[in-house]
Subunit: 337 residues, 2 copies
DNA sequence: CTGTTAGCGCATTCAG
DNA sequence: CTGAATGCGCTAACAG
């Protein structure tokens, strides 16, 4: 019982082509009264043109795919929201794929999106190393934008991410200026671009300030991982603290560190200052509330979506990457300056 | 430069029909050697059949739509994950739509999904009242499952949700059994099915326990809303506390209440006990960690997706609704029993 | 301004 | 077991 463009044409006493013209708002080519009559008919029958058929005929699906490592990671929901909102405003729909931090699933996701003939792809990749998973996109000429998680590759397309190096440097500089002498930097998994860049930022700050005593440790961006790490550090150094400040690669690890310190009877920020990264919702809800480097997640998502739409429209991007500014949000896990 | 089924057919020296048969794994109709040759060709050329064309020919898009009120609400990400995972395993893709708690946007989302010719829809609706927004789905015969947020309607399809009434009753019973005399129930927006059911659960518990003194207040499911509400209550009743326990309609409101109490110098759980609802990530990270009624969000999402796929396959559902069990998670915002 | 004619890429009859 | 023909619903030249 599905009504098609032919049914409408028949009822209106015109040809499919004419109906198609008003459907697509082709300014010219249809008389005012004919147009009005068809519009009325469409409205009263509630006719909806079939997007699939349209897609086949035009070669455009008006949908884009977004692949992220884990929607349950609090950093991503605002980003997804930004993407979705920007797309919706332009009449595009969003295929959401969760790669579950699994490289194989990420590849599968990309393959499926290509089969679906999305007009473009937003990818927040699980790993930095380039293993050819962008090749199919390049071969097919499907526009894509790398989001947050960058991939090392010559041909890698447009990228949108926060200035991770700068953000990390800001955090360390704030700690050092505050009098910190023996900082501890807890990084996330080292295979990720964001980890590498944040590490470089930390090194920048330490070098400039002549504070070489920064301890470096890698965890896995999880609360539990960081908590266990700090536990072991604290247990090993009975008595005097081996660090007087912690910069964690993300807020969840900062919270893990915080919990460990509290459990060990250490006060934050009096004994140890803590700074996180991301500014996820929990950052302001734990006690003491976390000082952190905020990322404009929603804005990044929106920016990436808009850039992608521009690529889809055939525009050549002026710059190959859009770098967003991190901001220091001072709360209570650091001492007043 | 896009290769089609015709190209493959030509290269293999067979007809499109034959290629189509091996593409769809039609067991019969193709000789073993022909099949092998074609498969090899497909593999080496990396040919991917066009999903859009397939969709037009078969009438199935192998994609479903999910509409939720707000992906940034911490309850939803795990649910989305459950949905996505279940769909992916069955080879379906997910269109994610955020209605932004806006009824009009929700309708628009549904319309777009219908245009995209999704095979089915998962809807977590913004409002309970039935205003006809399901009519298009019913008319078109598009399968759908209502998720978490239920809609009052005779024709409303299959539903998946947690037993909100029971969960609320569990919370209140726990408080009452613990000696609470003057509970305060902070509900969320009253237009939602979850709010109505949770309220009924609270009333059930109070009635059964003969504790009629339960104060009822409605906020908006936000931290700020509940915080302001408790602030005003506390300011109004200078001196003696007007309640000795709070059951909040969700965890974020519980956190808001917690913050207000602490700021007013009240101790939790010594002076006031608090129980939340949902068991989102922050629940265990605030201090004291929240006792709460946990919802199996990911499982709900997966269950809804599987039910929907069954409907899509043409099965008639045995039951019209799948009700999941809430669980009481005891933490530190209530006194030891 | 409007109608006719071709496809878009694939699945699916129906013959052979 | 295989191929040729038809159509899914719509857009896009091309004519009139």
């Amino acid at each position: 019982m599905k009504t098609t463009i032919s049914d409408i044409a028949k009822q209106a006493g015109v040809s499919k082509a004419t109906v198609s013209r008003v459907l697509n708002d082709h300014a010219e080519g249809v008389g005012a009264e004919t147009r009005a009559r068809i519009k009325a008919l469409i409205a009263e029958t509630g006719f909806q043109p079939c997007g699939v058929a349209r897609g086949l005929a035009t070669g455009k699906s008006r949908s884009v795919g977004l692949v992220i490592p884990d929607i349950a990671n609090a950093f991503f929901p605002p980003l997804v929201r930004g993407v979705e909102e920007a797309l919706r405003q332009r009449g595009y729909s969003l295929f959401l794929c969760d790669s579950d931090r699994d490289v194989q699933k990420e590849k599968d996701n990309l393959r499926v999106l290509l089969e679906k003939r999305v007009d473009g792809i937003l990818l927040s990749s699980t790993i930095t190393d380039y293993d050819g998973r962008l090749d199919p996109l390049n071969e097919r000429g499907v526009p894509y934008v790398l989001l947050d998680r960058i991939i090392d590759a010559r041909g890698a397309g447009v990228q949108v991410y926060v200035d991770n190096r700068k953000g990390a440097r800001m955090a360390m500089e704030y700690l050092i200026r505050g009098g910190c002498r023996r900082p501890l930097f807890i990084n996330g998994e080292e295979g990720l671009s964001i980890s590498r860049l944040r590490r470089e930022g930390v090194e920048d700050a330490c070098r400039e300030a002549g504070t070489p005593a920064c301890t470096y440790r890698a965890a896995d961006y999880t609360l539990a991982g960081a908590e266990a790490l700090v536990d072991s550090l604290l247990d090993a150094a009975s008595g005097e603290l081996p660090f007087d400040a912690i910069f964690a690669g993300n807020d969840m690890m900062a919270v893990g560190a915080l919990r460990s310190l509290k459990r060990h009877g250490r006060r934050v920020p009096e004994d140890v200052e803590i700074i996180g990264f991301d500014d996820v919702e929990v950052a302001r809800l734990v006690e003491p509330a976390l000082t952190t480097i905020a990322q404009p997640a929603a804005a990044m998502g929106a920016a990436a979506a808009e850039l992608l739409l521009r690529l889809i429209d055939g525009e050549k991007p002026l710059k190959r990457s859009k770098i967003m500014e991190p901001t220091l949000v001072v709360r209570q896990s650091t001492r007043p300056r």
